[in-house]
């Protein structure tokens, strides 16, 4: 009875009411930020006295925003590629490997995910101060890779576990080199896992703030660092304009992901 919506009676309305309120709660800031970005009040008075495109003009007129977005994109792409490659290799080892201590190794690989990012950030900042990697592209990539890799491993091992190795063996029996079999048979079969790993890794790097605040230098800033310093130093509605574009990007990515899933299920 509790697992059948139609038989819940008055409880239905309680559940539905809570869900609607939560949906409004989740949507409020997102809708609000879009509205704010078109408001013409410099001091975030809402509702604004009038509407304007001024903040978008300022955003695109200031090369520092585009520069940081470009930096973010470059770092995120490199993190994505490395995270998928390392994740694939590690997942093969974890799922197919025959060595002792695989469970321990798996737990170890996932540790950066459960530790508070602030610890990793402070530790890497101190370490990079010594070896001179702060403010470098390599430093950013290494830092983001550490936190992205666990998600990549989870996504790929998940897919790999459901794939029967016998099919790969069959390909090898038919004369394929083991690596060829992996690339041509196994990889396509687990592509949805690889795809999620790539998306997760990209997004983690693209959105990451805490590590980036510590790694950033004047010449190398990611978009979140730019938003963060602007938030702290200059509360201009340009932040709302930038945020709105980020929301738009999220919506586009979600639609793409949904379409891919739909295409798969056909």
């Amino acid at each position: 009875m509790l697992m059948n919506f139609d038989k819940l009676g008055t409880w239905r309305w309680v559940l539905a009411g809570i869900a609607v309120l939560m949906a409004l709660f989740l949507l409020l800031p997102i809708v609000f930020i879009v509205a704010l970005s078109f408001g013409d009040s410099r001091w975030l008075i809402f509702p604004p006295p009038g509407w304007t495109m001024r903040w978008y003009h300022e955003l695109f007129a200031d090369p520092r925003w585009l520069q940081s977005a470009w930096t973010s994109a470059r770092i995120a792409v490199v993190v994505m590629v490395l995270s998928v490659i390392l994740g694939l290799l590690a997942s093969f080892a974890l799922v197919r490997g025959q060595f002792r201590g695989r469970a321990v190794l798996r737990a170890f690989f996932l540790t950066p995910m459960i530790l508070p990012v602030v610890i990793i950030a402070v530790a890497l900042y101190a370490f990079f101060l010594r070896i001179g990697l702060n403010g470098t592209f390599t430093g950013f990539v290494a830092a983001h890779l550490i936190v992205a890799l666990p998600f990549s491993i989870i996504a790929i091992t998940g897919a790999l576990k459901t794939f029967d190795p016998a099919i790969e063996d069959a390909a090898i029996l038919c004369g394929a080199h083991p690596w060829e079999a992996r690339a041509r048979v196994t990889l396509p079969a687990i592509s949805h896992g690889v795809f999620s790993a790539a998306i997760f890794s990209f997004l983690i790097s693209w959105d990451e703030v805490v590590l980036a605040i510590f790694m950033a230098s004047p010449t190398l800033q990611t978009l979140p660092v730019r938003v963060w310093t602007t938030l702290r130093q200059d509360l201009t509605p340009v932040i709302a304009a930038a945020s709105t574009l980020l929301v738009l990007l999220t919506v586009v990515l979600m639609i793409v992901a949904a379409l891919i899933r739909k295409g798969k299920s056909r």
Binding site: I18, L89, I119
Partner: protein, 278 residues
């Protein structure tokens, strides 16, 4: 080129884990270990950093704030997430799809963008205060930012999906027949909820709660932007000690305490729910 990674078909496979292992050792284990060492070596060898942290009222307040906010956030998200996850599990696919879309949209929207929105929404002349005043709930604007109330609201917002998703996963797998059986045996809805549904959902609640609680303990961005000067949280303290005061010893000691609490909570979770398949 990849030949060194190419074990015999049924070889150990450890080699393939090597690149990730090396990366984690170099950029995770070594830096974290070096940092934690500094907690007992700077400014001089000894445990004085821990004594200061655990012995002064100011710092104990920071721990108090951190646990208070994390606990409240966990409780509030659990109270909201349970009915929502329940509804998601039993409603039509279409409605569930819309709700999931909203949850994922909020989860994937840039963290700073969301927090910025709350900064503006919650200020004294902000939308929330004005709506509350318009409907007559309050006549003076409430102080909702620069304090722990703002931090709690902002973090509940961020943590909700992390509670809903594991709960949904567990509730969805509950066999409706069990609840039907409860009804056949004469249980009222309230009894069925308390005695059957909640216990069956408990592992989901526990793993969601653990995740939310631990993430809240070490959260930096929301407290830094929505919190006030007089009620700092632990992550802020660590950053302040390291970045503004260059007091590596204290920063490292605070980080170590956070690390230990986190690991203990995870160990507890593994113990309590080992073998339950969650």
């Amino acid at each position: 080129m990849l030949s060194f990674l190419m074990p015999a078909r049924r070889g150990s496979g450890l080699g393939m884990a090597l690149p990730a292992l090396v990366l984690l050792l170099a950029f995770f284990v070594v830096p974290v270990t070096l940092l934690l060492t500094r907690s007992v070596t700077e400014p001089q060898p000894g445990l004085q950093n821990y004594e200061t942290l655990l012995g002064s009222a100011t710092y104990l307040r920071v721990f108090g704030n951190t646990f208070l906010v994390s606990g409240t956030v966990t409780l509030v998200t659990a109270l909201i997430a349970f009915p929502v996850a329940w509804l998601l599990a039993i409603t039509t696919p279409r409605l569930a799809g819309i709700l999931f879309g909203i949850i994922l949209l909020s989860m994937w929207t840039n963290l700073l963008a969301r927090t910025y929105a709350w900064m503006v929404l919650l200020q004294q002349t902000g939308l929330i205060n004005r709506m509350l005043m318009a409907v007559g709930v309050i006549d003076q604007p409430l102080q909702l930012t620069n304090n722990l109330i703002g931090v709690t609201i902002g973090m509940v917002y961020i943590m909700l999906p992390f509670m809903i998703l594991p709960l949904y996963g567990v509730i969805r797998k509950i066999d409706p027949a069990i609840l039907q059986a409860a009804a056949l045996c004469g249980a009222s809805k309230g009894q069925a909820l308390r005695r059957v549904l909640l216990p069956l959902a408990a592992p989901g609640i526990a793993s969601g709660a653990l995740m939310v609680f631990v993430m809240s303990l070490g959260y930096f961005v929301t407290p830094a932007l929505l919190g006030g000067t007089s009620n700092m949280m632990l992550a802020e303290l660590i950053v302040q000690q390291v970045q503004s005061l260059v007091n590596w010893g204290m920063g490292a000691a605070a980080a170590f305490i956070l690390l230990v609490v986190t690991l203990i909570l995870y160990a507890l979770q593994l113990r309590l729910f080992a073998g339950r398949g969650v």
